[in-house]
Each structure stands twice: as structure tokens, then as C-alpha cells.
């Protein structure tokens, strides 16, 4: 240990340093590529366009809630309610628009249901933000409570029954393809591009990162910290609600346990993607890779003869690997760059 501390850092030249920096920043993409290569080489019928599109399509919902979660974590907070908000949004949409099961029978137009669920998502984000920012209650506790209670509201709304039979105009978003690429995939990619730009190329995004790193300094610099945090929580709620609306379209309705377990997938994706749980560090490109990595593993397990129980073991192992890699990255940067 003493030797390591005393060893002089081996500094690299500017080009090598830039190359290594890029490699470290995008390590998760490298892991994704390796996993896809291994799966393609070892699993029969895995290497085909349809499978890769499935990986992307199945990643849509976890992918969208992961954006909101990543924003919250980068801003130094937490939003555990995203899964419940997504599920309840799907239930609201199905309750208002579906024709069968325990639906309301209103058969509202899809665009109207979208507006309603987005408003619900924004209201939930606002509620979380109010409790966290104004009442100074820990975000973990607040959003955990919201997570639990909204699941309960879902049960009240559905009576524990499925709602299904959405009109084709609603389901179109999940059944349409553009040049062979499912519209859901296009939406996912566009969302990541937009929010990546928002996080890295706008004042708001820079403020989110600064606040997550140290909320006191931005406050002293005149940044309206509370306003930024309100926006982050509302953004997270709206994105989760949008994901729920799309999920309803894909599943032609909603079941009471819809989306169960997606919070942990989103968390795993965010951590694997290199977002620091301490706040102030993280990029959405890494989160996107994390989401795709998990989706690839799920798909691989779906098409190979592996017992589903191993899915959790592999996911847990990957998270641990990601954290270890993060520490290796930090050490390498300190020594070589």
C-alpha cells in the first residue's frame, strides 16, 4: 500500500492522455460491445437485426425513467417514485381509454390521456420537490413514501384487475415502425439526445451538475438552487409518466403489477452508467449504455436456455463490476492523466 502511494505517477503525452480519457469515459460502451459480441458468437440466432431492435425496444421504459433518475442523482438527490409513477400513469391512461377489464368506459382520446398522465407526473414531481426542498425532508424517505402510496393508489384504481383493449390510435405509437425501426426506439434515442444536450450544453444542465457537486457554492454564486431542484423533480415525474403512457400503448392496457422491478433496473443502469451516487458526476451516454447492457442480458437470457433466476445474479454482479471499474477509472486518471 505504501509502495503504491509512493510510486511516481506515469504521466502520458497529450494524445495518449486524451485517448485514455475517452476510453475511461466510455468504458461501459466497451463492456456492452463485448457482451453483444460474446452473445452473438455463443447463442444461436442471437446475431440478427430483430434481436438488436428488441434490445432497444425493451429498453424504452427503463431507459426513460433512468433519465429522470439520473438527473435527480446528479443533482444530489434521489427519486424512488419513478417506477410507481410510470405504472400509475399507465393505469390512468388505460382506465381512461381502454374498453375492457376494469376500465372506466370513458374511452378518451389518446392525446387527452397523454396530457392527463403528464400532468399527473408533473404534480407528483412537484409534490416530491415540495417535501424535499421546502420541508427539508430527505428525498430518499419522501420518494420511497410516494413510491409505496402510488402503488396503493394503482390498486385502488384498478381494483386489482387488468384493463385492456386500447384503440388502435393509442397503440399506434407502439406498433408503428419508421424505416423498420420501432417508433418506441426512435422516441428513446431522441429523448436521450435531447436530455444529453440539456445536461451538457445548457445553463440548466450545468447548474444541475454544480448543485449535485456542492449545493452551497452555486447558491453563493447566485444560482437559484431551489428552482433548479424543483425542475429536476418535475422532469423526473413527467418522464416517468410519459414512459407509463408508452408502456400502456405497448401492453394494450395495464395490469396491477405493471412495471414491478423496473426501479431497480433503472438504478442499476444509472450506476453502471457511471453516475455517482454522491451527486455532481454523470453523463446520460453512460446511462444509455447501462440500460442497453441490462436489456441485452435480459434478451440473451430470454433466447438461451439459462434459468431466469440467474438474471438477478448477473445484474448484481454487473453493478458490482461497474462500481469496481469506477474506482479503477479514478485511480488510473489520478496516476496517468
Amino acid at each position: 500500500m505504501a509502495l503504491a502511494a509512493e510510486r511516481p505517477a506515469a504521466r502520458l503525452g497529450p494524445r495518449q492522455a486524451q485517448l485514455l480519457s475517452q476510453l475511461l469515459d466510455h468504458l461501459v460502451w466497451l463492456i456492452l460491445a463485448v457482451i453483444l459480441l460474446v452473445c452473438s458468437a455463443t447463442i444461436e440466432n442471437f446475431f440478427q437485426l430483430g434481436i438488436f431492435l428488441n434490445i432497444l425496444q425493451h429498453a424504452t421504459f427503463v431507459g426513460l425513467i433512468s433519465i429522470g433518475l439520473a438527473f435527480c442523482i446528479i443533482a444530489g438527490h434521489m427519486d424512488l417514485s419513478v417506477e410507481s409513477v410510470m405504472a400509475f400513469a399507465a393505469m390512468i391512461a388505460a382506465w381512461l381509454a381502454a374498453t375492457r377489464g376494469s376500465a372506466s368506459g370513458h374511452e378518451l382520446a389518446p392525446w387527452l390521456t397523454l396530457l392527463i398522465v403528464l400532468a399527473f407526473g408533473a404534480a407528483t414531481g412537484l409534490f416530491n420537490a415540495f417535501l424535499v426542498i421546502r420541508l427539508q425532508i430527505n428525498a430518499f424517505i419522501v420518494t420511497l413514501a410516494t413510491y409505496i402510496s402510488i402503488r396503493g393508489f394503482g390498486l385502488v384504481l384498478t381494483g386489482g384487475r387488468s384493463m385492456y383493449g386500447l384503440p388502435d390510435s393509442f397503440r399506434g405509437v407502439a406498433t408503428t415502425s419508421l424505416l423498420g425501426v420501432p417508433l418506441l426506439v426512435v422516441i428513446l434515442i431522441i429523448a436521450y439526445v435531447i436530455f444529453h444536450v440539456l445536461l451538457t450544453h445548457t445553463r440548466f444542465g450545468r447548474h444541475v451538475t454544480l448543485i449535485g457537486g456542492n449545493p452551497v457554492a452555486p447558491f453563493r454564486a447566485g444560482i437559484r438552487v431551489e428552482r433548479v431542484l424543483y425542475a429536476v423533480f418535475i422532469l423526473s415525474g413527467v418522464l416517468a409518466a410519459a414512459a407509463g403512457w408508452l408502456l400502456a400503448a405497448r401492453t394494450n392496457g395495464a395490469t396491477p403489477n405493471l412495471g414491478l422491478g423496473m426501479l431497480f433496473e433503472a438504478f442499476a443502469a444509472v450506476v453502471i452508467g457511471g453516475v455517482s451516487l454522491r451527486g455532481g458526476v454523470g453523463r446520460l451516454s453512460g446511462v444509455f449504455a447501462g440500460v442497453l447492457l441490462l436489456s441485452s442480458i435480459d434478451t440473451a437470457i430470454n433466447v438461451m436456455g439459462l434459468d431466469a433466476s440467474y438474471m438477478q445474479v448477473i445484474r448484481g454482479g454487473l453493478m458490482l463490476l461497474a462500481v469496481l471499474l469506477d474506482s479503477v477509472k479514478t485511480t488510473l486518471r489520478r496516476r496517468l492523466l
Binding site: 420541508l135 403489477n257 434478451t299
Partner: protein
């Protein structure tokens, strides 16, 4: 100061809500606790409704507790209930093994324990009323063979079995019954089994979507619960399949399965006789609570001929499950039609 005032108001509002819940008035025949494994399932929500109604009509106060699919939570709930000394407990277990110590403790405390729906053979009960999860799998296997024979003229083909959560005994038992019978009677049929984690419907959809890419010759999809078919039908439709191109079957008899049959997407739904299982418990409950012995034999349980036998785990009322097809889908005895029998349980004297 302002923050403190707000918090105080929130706290007061919360206490007010809790106080509003209030105790229910006790009824003359005694108190029964119903232990629910989860409420995220139509079978369970309808079971709760029916149990409260049927036992309520007999004069019992029924209190239901939801374990949210956590075996440990259910064991904790059971221990709390034992401390309250109710007259009886109706057990619908999350986990068939881990609940056994709690059941033994309850019986040792003199509380009558009735077992509903999920067969537990490792400890005695005052009465067990089940169709049998293994038997549900066997009925499903019989229907699978019939459908494959109709399609191919022989017992061959490929079946995708979409299970529930791989940690759930209920799903594992159905798989056991299904696989054993298929292996014995139709060894040439290829079965691919995949688990939808946490019984989550979109997981089932993803499995089917992936499998259709690597196994485009799947004849039949068998889901361990009807709600899993919701995204599957959407995906089949999205892939341009017509009803019946890929046959679909599910078990538990939920409304969505019956609806799929009416629309032609699903060929068979294996019914768990929800109402009959509950009436079966209710008709013997007064006798059990009086401490009287039950007499084995055939009993008519809301129109279904059921057998009461004495087993190692106590009196066992076996109520036959049924295959629902387009020919009998509108039969009101199927719980998926959500028309509970409009009669009071006929108590066995």
C-alpha cells in the same frame, strides 16, 4: 418555525386519517382472519371480495391482511394475528414452506386454520379447499395435447411455457404438473420454459417477442396466469398474427382470459374454481369452529361434485378445476365472469 407548523399539520392530517379508519363492529359468529398472498392479481382480489361476502353472510367478521408477496411479511402478520386470538384463520400462503411454523403456532394456540387455494402438505390444517396447483398444470397439459393433436394430427410441436416468478411455489407447482404429464404422454413435444420475473406482464411480453425471433415455429404459448396474456396478445397482433396462428392458453380463469377466448386469441383457460373453493370452506366452517369432526365423502359445492378425503395434512376438499373453451366460456360458474353464486353457503350439519 413555518416549516415546523407545516409538518405539524401534515402529522395531524395523517393521524386523522388513521383514526378515521376505526374498528369494525364484531359479528356474532366470531372473527376470521384471511391471509392474502398479494393483491396484485385478479384472482386474489376477487377471492378477498368473495371470502368477505360469503363468510360475512354466515355472520363472521372477516379481516383481510395482504402480505404483498413477501413470505416473511406473511409470517409476521400471522404471528400478530395469533396474538389477537381470532376464532379461525384462512391461509392463502405466499410460500408453502416458510409459513408452516406460523401455522403450527396458530394451531397450538387453539386457533382453527383453514387452507385456501394453495396446497400445503407438510403440516395439518382443520380443512384444505383446493383445486390443486399441480392438477391445474396437468389439466393444462391435457388441453395442450388435445390442441396439438388437432393441429398436427399427432402429439408433436413446440410449446412456450411462460411461468410466473421463478421463486413462487404456485408457478413451480403448475410447471411440475404440466411438465410431468407432457413428458409422460407427449415426449416429442418440445417445451421451452421462461419465467416472467415478479409476474410482471411486460416481462412476459418481452419473452414472447424474443422467442418468436429464435423459434418461429412455436405452436402454443401457455401462461401461468391470464394477466400475462395482455401484452402477449398485443405483440402477436403487432406482428400481424391472426387469432389462432399461435395458440394461447393460460391458467387461473381471470376475466381477461375469458375475454381472449371470446375474441379468438386464446383457445383454453384453465379455471381455478375460486367461488367453489370458498364455498367449500364456508360450508364446513361452523362445524370446524364447534370442534366437530368432518365426515369424508362426496359433497355438492355450488353445483360441483367435490370429494372430502382425510389426508396426512387433515381433511382435504378437492374441487375439480375445468378447462374453459369457446363452447362454455359464458358459464356463470366460472369466476372470470364475475358473477358470484347468489346463494348463502349451505352449512354442513
Amino acid at each position: 418555525m413555518v416549516d415546523l407548523t407545516r409538518r405539524a399539520w401534515l402529522l395531524a392530517a395523517g393521524i386523522g386519517l388513521l383514526a378515521g379508519a376505526g374498528p369494525l363492529a364484531a359479528q356474532e359468529q366470531g372473527t376470521i382472519y384471511y391471509m392474502i398472498p398479494t393483491l396484485l392479481d385478479e384472482f386474489q382480489t376477487e377471492s378477498q371480495k368473495a371470502i368477505e361476502q360469503v363468510f360475512g353472510e354466515l355472520g363472521y367478521k372477516v379481516v383481510s391482511l395482504d402480505a404483498q408477496n413477501e413470505a416473511n411479511k406473511q409470517l409476521n402478520q400471522l404471528e400478530d394475528v395469533i396474538a389477537l386470538k381470532p376464532d379461525a384463520i384462512i391461509m392463502n400462503a405466499v410460500d408453502f414452506d416458510s409459513i408452516v411454523p406460523g401455522i403450527e403456532k396458530a394451531r397450538a394456540a387453539g386457533i382453527k386454520v383453514l387452507n385456501y387455494d394453495r396446497q400445503i402438505r407438510s403440516t395439518p390444517f382443520e380443512l384444505t379447499s383446493v383445486a390443486g396447483t399441480v392438477e391445474i398444470g396437468q389439466i393444462a397439459a391435457g388441453e395442450t395435447m388435445r390442441l396439438l393433436k388437432e393441429r398436427h394430427g399427432a402429439l408433436k410441436g413446440k410449446v412456450l411455457q411462460v411461468m410466473g416468478d421463478p421463486g413462487d411455489n404456485y408457478s413451480l407447482d403448475i410447471q411440475k404438473g404440466f411438465d410431468e404429464r407432457m413428458a409422460a404422454d407427449a415426449p416429442d413435444v418440445e417445451i421451452i420454459a421462461k419465467a416472467a420475473l415478479q409476474w410482471e406482464a411486460s416481462n412476459a411480453g418481452d419473452i414472447v417477442e424474443d422467442q418468436l425471433l429464435v423459434n418461429d415455429d412455436i405452436d402454443l404459448i401457455f401462461c401461468h396466469a391470464a394477466h400475462l396474456t395482455v401484452p402477449i396478445v398485443a405483440i402477436l397482433e403487432g406482428k400481424g398474427k391472426k387469432p389462432g396462428d399461435i395458440m394461447l392458453m393460460a391458467s387461473n380463469g381471470a376475466p381477461v382470459g375469458l375475454d381472449n377466448i371470446r375474441k379468438g386469441w386464446q383457445q383454453v383457460e384453465v379455471e381455478q374454481p375460486l367461488y367453489a373453493q370458498i364455498y367449500g370452506l364456508a360450508m364446513f366452517a361452523p362445524k370446524i369452529l364447534k370442534g366437530e369432526a368432518l365426515t369424508p365423502g362426496s359433497y355438492d359445492v355450488v353445483g360441483l361434485k367435490s370429494e372430502l378425503t382425510m389426508e396426512e395434512w387433515g381433511p382435504n376438499l378437492r374441487i375439480p378445476g375445468a378447462a374453459i373453451t369457446k363452447d362454455n366460456v359464458d358459464d356463470k360458474r366460472f369466476w372470470g365472469n364475475l358473477t358470484p353464486p347468489d346463494q348463502k353457503a349451505q352449512v354442513v350439519e
